[in-house]
Amino acid sequence: MAPNTNPAAPVPELGEAADRPEGPVAAAILAAGVGAFALGVLTTLAEASEPIKEFLNLYDPVGPLSGKTTGAVIIWLVAWAVLHLIYRNKPVESRLALTVSLVLIGLGVIGTFPVFFQAFAPAE
């Protein structure tokens, strides 16, 4: 069988999924950025503030990492749910969502980078 050489040609095997609105995908991509950013913020805040570090210590054997990661996952899931409700039927392009998300992920990585967040540790 000859390969399908026309990207625009309708392909029966694709079903209706190909025509779904892009909004939910944009919401998922944006939410991932929000989650990554939240992890970076929580990591840096825990280093900068002893009360926040104690607040994030949900489980002593794990320490504040328990609260940082649980908090980031909750923020990610809530952001995803809210953004999904906003964008679920909208044909928005995910290009802007990816750009915003990559910036947020970059900030999140900076926030989790030891050289950065350890600079906020109180002087001993």
Binding site: N4, V11, G15, R20, V25, I29, A31, P114
Partner: protein, 170 residues
């Protein structure tokens, strides 16, 4: 030949769940990369999409399994306040202290970005299925997120292996 309880869970964390994610990356990357109309027959698209759905979903599950076992099972043993815990061993020697201050501190945080991004990739693939072949820009977006998920897991995996080599969890 036997493993201690700690060694068993370290293996599950790194060599089973973590390795499944890292090794699965090559297959997922190829699947996403070649999901293009001029490379595939209509019959091939359907089979490829099904394998891709199963593959990226399994990778997301493996990524979550890796960080959950790492953070909630293995990490407490690593940081235990006893002289022979890996953290204590590393910090006792100035020559190895940076493995904790930089390596472990980065690994334990940045690893969590991987399952979040892997889940996003799995959602996109499950949402569009074979239809992703018609969304060239979105396919590239998915590829970018997939590569990032791998990169963060690779950083965590690399530091995990090096730290375990320097101060094994026994």
């Amino acid at each position: 030949m036997s493993f201690t309880h700690h060694e068993f869970w370290t293996l599950i964390h790194g060599m089973v769940l973590g390795a499944v994610f890292l090794l699965g990356f090559a297959g997922g990357l190829e699947g996403l990369w070649s999901l293009r109309p001029h490379l595939m027959t209509p019959e091939g698209i359907r089979g490829r999409a099904l394998r891709l759905k199963i593959g990226v979903t399994a990778m997301a599950v493996a990524a979550w399994g890796t960080v959950l076992t790492g953070t909630w099972i293995v990490y407490p043993w690593y940081r235990e306040d006893v002289p022979d815990s890996p953290r204590s061993v590393l910090l006792a020697d100035p020559a190895t202290a940076q493995w904790h201050h930089f390596g472990m501190e980065w690994k334990e945080h940045v690893a969590w970005l991987s399952p979040i991004l892997a889940t996003t990739v799995a959602f996109i693939v499950l949402y569009y299925g074979a239809g992703l072949i018609r969304h060239e820009r979105l396919r590239k977006t998915t590829l970018a997120l997939f590569v990032l998920a791998f990169a963060f897991a690779a950083v965590a995996g690399l530091f995990g292996a090096l730290i375990t080599k320097t101060a094994p969890l026994l």
